[in-house]
Each structure stands twice: as C-alpha cells, then as structure tokens.
C-alpha cells in the first residue's frame, strides 16, 4: 500500500514539474522534455492510483493503457523534434519567436480604407 502511495505522490510531482517546465522554458527541446515528463508522471498515477488486485499485481487495463501511452509519447516526441529542428533551420534559433499573442498594433485594414477614401 505504501509503495502505491509513494509513487502516486511522485507521479503528481513529476507531472506538474513537467508542466511547469513546459510553461517556463523557452527552448523547444525543453518544452518537449517537459511534455514527456508530464506524461511519465500521469502514467505513474495511472498505475499507482487504481486499486491493486488481491494478489498485489497492478491492474492490467491501466498497464495496457500506459504501454499504449509510451508508444504514443514516443511518436509525438519524434514529430515534435523534427518540427523543432526545422524551426531551428528556418529561424536560426530553436525558440518560438513570433508575434506574441494577438497583433493589436497591426496597421488596421479599416484605417487603410479610410486613408484611401480621403
């Protein structure tokens, strides 16, 4: 029982560390690492939280889900790394540099019409 508890808390901690890493780090590789850690933490919760079988084995259904999840995470990582490298090639830097948020200071189309009409 205590084993489950320890890994349940660890899972919660690792998933939120991963989420925090994703939010705070600007470098794309760390963002991808953060997502992976978030997934690992959730996998830990998925195995440690549901009730155990009488024999002490883990529930086979979440085990199958986590096996699927590991492969899915791997696929996502591969594609994300590929795109991140293309970002590095196209912009010279592996960061998300772009207009942050909504471009409100964009010259407005409406104002241009007005200028034209005058």
């Amino acid at each position: 029982m205590s084993t489950d508890l320890i890994y349940l808390v660890t899972g919660a901690g690792v998933s939120m560390l991963g989420f925090r890493g994703f939010v705070t780090r600007a470098h794309l590789f760390w963002k991808i690492l953060g997502i992976n850690l978030m997934g690992s933490g959730i996998f830990l919760i998925l195995i440690a939280a549901p009730p155990r079988l009488p024999g002490g084995e883990a529930d086979p259904v979440p085990q199958a889900m986590v096996l699927t999840g590991i492969v899915v995470a791997l696929s996502a990582t591969a594609l994300a790394l590929g795109v991140a490298l293309r970002v590095a090639v196209r912009t010279g830097r592996p960061y998300l540099e772009e207009e942050a948020g909504d471009p409100v200071d964009h010259p407005t189309a409406a104002s241009e019409i007005r200028r034209e009409m005058e």
């Binding site: 890994y7 996998f43 199958a64 293309r86 590095a88 090639v89």
Partner: protein
C-alpha cells in the same frame, strides 16, 4: 527488514523527482538529455516496484532507449548546426538555453511552491478518494479463457481493447508520415557517410549482438502471449539492432523514398485492419476474432507489429535529425505569398521553389 522496500521506494521516488527537477532546470541541453535517459531507467525501476514488469521492459526500451536516442540524435544535429554557422546569431548557442530569465531565489521558490501545491492537491484528492473494488481486472480474469492468450496485458492490448492498439499503430504511422512530410531535402544521416564502415570494433559488436537481438525479439513477440513481453518491446529491441546496423555501416539508412520501407512500415496496419475486417465478415463484429482462431490471429498481428514498429523506429531515428536544406528564401516569413513556397510563372505553370528573385 520490512523497512527495506520502503527505503528503496523512497530512494527511487526522490531520484525521479530530483532528476526531473534538474533536467528541466539546467541550461545545458546535453545534460538535460542524459538526465532524461537516466530518468527513464529509474522509472523502469519504479514500474518493477509497482508490479508492472511489462511496463519496465517497455520503458527501458522505448521511453529511455528510443526516446533518449531520438533526443541525443536531435541534440547532435542542433549542436552541429551551431558550429557550422559562424554568424553570431546562433554560433554554439542553440544547445545552451540562453533565454532563461534570471529570477531571485524567492521568486523561484514561490513558483515551485505554487506548482507544488497543485501537485500536492492532485495527490491529496486521489489519496483521500474512498477505495473501491477492482472492477475491470475481475472482468479481464473472467474473459481470459476466451481471449486466446493468457497474459492479461496482451489480452487487453490485442483482444479486449485491440481497437486502441490498432489506433496506436496509426499514431506511430502518423508520426512517421509527419516526419517524412517535413521536407528534408538532405537525407544525410547524422554520421558522416565517409565514416561508415570505418569502425571495425563496432562492426564486430554488431555481428555479435544483432543476431542475438533478432532472436530475442522473436522470443519476446512469442512469449507475450503468456508472459512478460510483446510486440512493442520486441519491436524496440529489433529497432535497436537496426540502428546498430546503420551506425556500423552494414545497412544504408533507409528513407521514405524506398517502397520497401514504406511497405514494411504499414505492414502492421494492413495486417491488423485485414484481420479486423475478416472478423467483421466472419463473426459480425470488427476485431471479434473467430472462435478458436484467437491465438493464431493475435500472434499474426503481433508478428506484423514487431516488424512495423522496428522499421518505423529505425526510420524515425534516421530521419528525425535529417533536417531540411537551408533555403534562404524560406527564412523570410512569407517568401512568395504561397505557403508551399512555389514561384508562379505568368502562365500559371508550376516551375520552381522559392528563391530570392
């Protein structure tokens, strides 16, 4: 004596947290990558402690092994890029995160405190949840007789929830097609082609290990029916052997251009779908294997899965770092107004890619 497992769990848990903290905190990408692999290996220890041997195997092979290899490979490409470019905008900086804001210790503590509270709250609601009886495991046990295999996890993966596994292969294929579509003009493998075959010792190791790995992969595929193992672990192992062959120069890096690669990559998808459709016309329900044929069909699907997973993983390993040609025209945000970078001739013909005109 009874405190010993408790101490072991505590050490593994602290290691997991510590590694996760450090790898997300460091600025050195190489350090982060290596720590990530260490994290994966520690995690597989945790799976053993949690009574999930299949996961331990998969985590070590896929989570730490293949994912780690992908990160290292991408790291190397990024680092090389930093060296190659002399302009100050990127020299050597790409593998060191230079965009971490300096924060005071108090601010850092506050940030970790808030996230820690969220994590603690998450753990708290789960811990205080009233215990319930196992529901699905009982059903799995009861249905295991008719499943064709005796390993409950394999039964869930390839019979009870086989549809999920079919879609899981679709995810893998989607990632592969996505990586292919990234327009990598240069398909150069991370290693310099001149070096290929220039590693006699690596070659000797490959000769020793690759046949063994192949044998073990076959064994794991087959043993998954009744014990720890299965197509995913086997596929990862076979992929490791494939990567070794490529690295040692015995095999040319395969790419999407080779029809054979594409065929093997989607083999599992074809076999799985056809098995599902045959069952649909036989028993009336998709993936409802005809009675008596369960074991044979599951083994067939598992075999195809092993092959496809191995091919796709080698493919991803070779292809992910193959980054596109640096077309200066495309570095401009919108070179021609055409998202495909096509330059349009007045008569509307499709002539050439983006160039600076």
């Amino acid at each position: 004596m009874s405190a010993l497992p408790w101490i072991l769990d505590g050490v593994v848990a602290l290691l997991l947290i510590g590694l996760a903290y450090r790898l997300l905190d460091t600025r050195d990408l190489f350090e982060a990558t290596v720590l990530y692999i260490a994290f994966g290996l520690t995690l597989s220890l945790a799976w053993v402690r949690l009574g999930a041997a299949d996961l331990a195997l998969a985590e070590a092979a896929l989570g730490a092994g293949v994912t780690g290899a992908l990160f290292l490979n991408a790291y190397q490409r990024l680092a090389r890029r930093g060296e190659g470019r002399t302009d100050e905008e990127s020299s050597g900086l790409t593998v060191v995160d230079d965009r971490v804001d300096e924060v005071s210790p108090a601010a850092a503590l506050a940030s970790y405190g808030v996230w820690g509270l969220i994590a603690g709250g998450l753990a708290w609601v789960l811990v205080t949840l009233p215990a319930r009886d196992p529901i699905l495991p009982v059903l799995v046990d009861a249905a295991l007789e008719d499943a064709g295999v005796s390993n409950p996890i394999t039964a869930v993966l390839l019979n009870f929830r086989a549809y999920d596994t079919l879609l899981e292969i679709v995810v893998l294929v989607a990632a592969m097609v996505g990586v292919w579509s990234l327009d990598r003009g240069s398909r150069e493998f991370a290693r310099n082609p001149a070096d290929l075959g220039d590693e006699p010792i690596l070659g000797a190791l490959s000769r020793l290990v690759v046949p063994l790995a192949g044998l073990t992969a076959v064994y794991l595929t087959w043993t998954g029916a009744y014990a720890t193992g299965g197509a995913f672990q086997a596929g990862a192992l076979a992929a490791g052997a494939g990567v070794l062959l490529v690295a040692a120069g015995f095999m040319r890096p395969v790419t999407s251009a080779a029809p054979f690669t594409r065929a093997l990559g989607v083999l599992a998808l074809v076999v799985f779908t056809v098995v599902g459709l045959v069952s649909l016309f036989w028993t009336g329900l998709f993936l409802d294997y005809p009675p008596g044929a369960e074991y044979g069909l599951i083994l067939l699907v598992e075999g195809a899965l092993t092959v496809s997973i191995a091919v796709i993983l080698v493919e991803l390993f070779v292809d992910v770092p193959a980054i596109p040609e640096d077309d200066p025209g495309l570095r401009v945000l919108d070179p021609t107004g055409d998202p495909l970078g096509r330059v349009i001739s007045p008569d509307g013909a499709f002539i050439r890619g983006a160039e600076e005109e």
